[in-house]
């Protein structure tokens, strides 16, 4: 689709950025010491910190990614919501208070509390950097991808704006301003998600007309019901005779391609026989986008554009049949929403890719109709198909992902450092409780927003990330502007947290693991500020370089690597007196390297990154967690047992 940038969205966004930067400069004078820079003096109120947890944690992947995945595949996106929230239970009951008690500025501090080891600082610092960079890239690319449809700026400008604003936030007042930006973003995200949800419930479900219902080809209007439109059926026969036909099979679906011998224009049809319910004996025109090797893009057989003789893809997504012969359900409650949805038939759009020998590639989008009750059960998305298969390896992949989500949250450095910003252990606990309440509430709303978007009639078949903003647009321009601006602010909040975690890892852990003496306070802050700028610039460059790649899977990498590298040491340190310095160093290294190696050799990476066939992958399933997390624990125990008797030198 082509997006009309909204002036209101640009205005709302710059108001947000203005407030954020103003706040940072105002707070800047408070954060001169390292204690202020890294930990906001440990003086943040627990309630503020709790909401800031939400602002830190709920990235663009949570808001746009999960809503989009639910809008296109139903319940499967919600599996991420469940897993991402469940991880907070580990944080609350196991990690939060010891983290606060043992550490000072960084996650490495807590690991190193009893050992005073340079080696631990070094490996924990490296693991922080690796995890944070993996997390940063998709946020930055996301900023660029978002800014174009939302605000109308080019990709690189989106990345540069986010980078520049975040560097300013972090350099002016470190953790103090980061905390308030995250607090602001967390609050806005929750409030406006609630507003959207209330509007969705008020709208209920209803059938609606969409532009796609009246696709004109010559004097024919598609979809064409051959049984019900006898005159049209005759015209269709004439149309068939005048065209050249070819059967295209892609992804297990058959398409009929008609080529007009006079103009050369092509059309992709799905000709449905009997057995398609109320669509039996119907000819549907699909939607398709063709890219030729020399870079020309055409949509539905015409050049991409809004003018006469050009075409854009139609918005989709609606209830096909409300059930009980009704047109609409009227306003719904939070439970009856799912009750009614389960009685509907919904239209979901699927994509297959067709390649021609001449190098041109056509993405064909076509509608499928599924019962709402099926859409609300796991297993629709290709990634989760394994749930419904008999192959045990496919099930292992799912188990492994759910394990990584559960263990990953409490191992993410940018989340862990937030425990140092509160004054006490009890405040750490309370802020986690507020965090769980806020984040959990948001994740519950994701299912309403996702289903709301699925039935909004506003979806862009090519871009699931746009589902939430387009849903907002279906309610009005102002809401679209605010949701777009919030989506963008979402990136700011999370990226600030990541940059400060990385700068802490550089200035406090890595450099000090090499330095002869402890760095003075002034130099530590200066070094951290320089590190923030450097990491920020690297993030900008990576965000521009990775432009063309769909990098959302990197968040999954970050979770798996964090869980495998960090969690075993954190947990064993608390529960086993025999844990040794060497045990921690080796376990972090083995967890990090093994999970990374597994990911790089997996089918997911083979297909998405290297463009190689999935069956040439060297590991049996894609998600490493179920192997590499236990491996981390095992390594720590074995190495600790072997190094038990040695006197511990620092």
């Amino acid at each position: 689709m082509i997006y009309e940038p909204s002036v209101i969205a640009v205005f709302v966004f710059f108001v947000f950025v203005g407030i954020t930067l103003g706040l940072s400069f105002y707070l800047g004078r408070r954060a001169k010491s390292s204690q202020g820079y890294f930990a906001a003096h440990g003086q943040i109120h627990w309630a503020v910190n709790g909401i800031a947890f939400a602002g830190d944690y709920l990235s663009a992947a949570s808001f746009l990614g999960i809503c989009g995945m639910i809008a296109f595949y139903g319940y499967d996106g919600f599996l991420y919501s469940i897993g991402y929230l469940a991880g907070w239970i580990v944080a609350l009951f196991v990690i939060a208070e010891p983290m606060k008690r043992l550490g000072k500025f960084t996650f490495a501090d807590a690991l190193n509390a009893n050992y005073g080891s340079r080696g631990i600082k070094l490996v924990a610092g490296i693991s922080t950097l690796v995890v944070s960079i993996f997390y940063l890239i998709p946020q930055m690319v996301g900023a660029g991808v978002l800014i174009q449809p939302l605000l109308g700026f080019p990709h690189w400008l989106g990345v540069v704006i986010v980078g520049a604003v975040v560097i300013t936030i972090v350099v002016t007042a470190g953790m103090v301003s980061t905390t308030y930006v995250q607090f602001l973003k967390g609050s806005l995200l929750i409030v406006f998600s609630l507003v959207l949800t209330v509007l969705i419930l008020g709208r209920g479900f209803g059938t609606k007309e969409l532009p796609w219902d009246n696709q004109q080809v010559g004097n024919l209007t598609f979809p064409l019901q051959l049984d019900l439109q006898p005159e049209a059926a005759q015209q269709w026969a004439a149309f068939q005779a005048a065209m050249q036909w070819q059967t295209i099979e892609s992804g297990g679906v058959e398409f009929s391609r008609a080529t007009d011998p006079l103009t050369g224009r092509q059309y992709y049809f799905r000709i449905l026989g009997s057995g398609y319910g109320d669509r039996s004996n119907t000819v549907e025109l699909t939607q398709w986008v063709t890219r030729t090797p020399d870079g020309l893009v055409s949509v539905n057989g015409l050049p991409l554009g809004m003018d006469e003789g050009q075409a854009v893809l139609s918005p989709v997504g609606r209830v096909h049949d409300v059930g009980d012969s009704r047109e609409s359900t009227g306003p719904l409650g939070p439970i009856s929403f799912f009750d009614e949805f389960s009685r509907t038939q919904v239209e979901l759009w699927r994509k297959v890719v067709h390649r021609e020998p001449d190098g041109s590639v056509t993405d064909i989008y076509f509608r499928e109709i599924k019962p709402g009750s099926q859409v609300l059960t796991p297993g629709e998305h290709p990634r989760f198909k394994g749930i419904r298969s008999e192959n045990p390896l496919d099930k292992l992949n799912f188990l492994s992902l759910m394990l990584a989500l559960f263990c990953g949250t409490a191992s993410l450095p940018h989340i862990l450092i937030r425990y140092y910003t509160v004054p006490s252990e009890i405040a750490a606990r309370k802020s986690t409780i507020v965090g769980i309440g806020t984040i959990g509430f948001f994740y519950i709303l994701t299912l309403y927003m996702g289903i709301g978007a699925m039935t909004s009639g506003a979806l862009d078949v090519t871009d699931s990330n746009m589902a939430a903003p387009l849903l907002a647009q279906s309610f009005g321009e102002w809401l679209f502007a605010i949701i777009s601006a919030i989506a963008f602010t979402t990136v700011l909040g999370t990226v600030s947290g990541l940059i400060i975690a990385s700068s802490g890892a550089v200035a406090h852990d890595l450099v000090q693991s090499f330095a002869k003496d402890e760095l003075g306070d002034f130099y530590q802050v200066r070094l951290a500020k320089i590190a923030s700028i450097v990491v920020g610039v690297i993030a900008i460059v990576l965000g521009i370089l990775f432009k063309e790649l769909n990098v959302s899977y990197l968040v999954g990498w970050a979770f798996s690597v964090a869980a495998s590298a960090n969690l075993p040491s954190l947990v064993m340190l608390l529960f086993w007196k025999g844990t040794t310095r060497t045990g921690i160093i080796v376990a972090v290294t083995v967890g990090m390297v093994s999970s990374l190696a597994w990911i790089l050799l997996s089918a997911d990476t083979f297909t998405k990154v290297y463009g190689l066939p999935a069956d040439s992958a060297l590991v049996p399933f894609s998600q490493p967690g179920i192997v590499t997390i236990p491996l981390g624990f095992l390594t720590l125990i074995v190495v600790s047992l072997f190094t038990q008797k040695r006197p511990e030198e620092a």
Binding site: A86, V94, I433
Partner: protein, 87 residues
């Protein structure tokens, strides 16, 4: 080194772990069970999923109320006071 984690915390953690494990194993090995209609047409997947989120919050509240802490009561000030951010 003394144990840093409270017993109540571990018990609550165990409860949640079992519930989460139940959800994941049911989904993986008995996916049809998730279609079971619990209330009207609303299936187990929706209720179990929402349940996992709500139970997390309930357990967190229980921990907040009953969980012991070996800190001095001085920190109790931070419980209800106004914002105390910055010197």
């Amino acid at each position: 080194m003394k144990n840093h984690v409270s017993t109540l915390g571990l018990v609550l953690f165990g409860i949640y772990l079992l519930l989460y494990l139940g959800f994941v194993l049911l989904t993986a090995f008995w996916p049809d069970s998730m279609q079971f209609k619990v209330y009207g047409e609303v299936n187990l997947a929706v209720f179990y999923g929402f349940g996992l989120i709500l139970v997390a919050f309930v357990l967190a509240i229980i921990y907040g109320i009953f969980g012991k802490t070996d800190e001095k009561p001085a920190d109790a000030e931070s419980m209800g006071g106004d914002g105390e951010e910055g010197p």
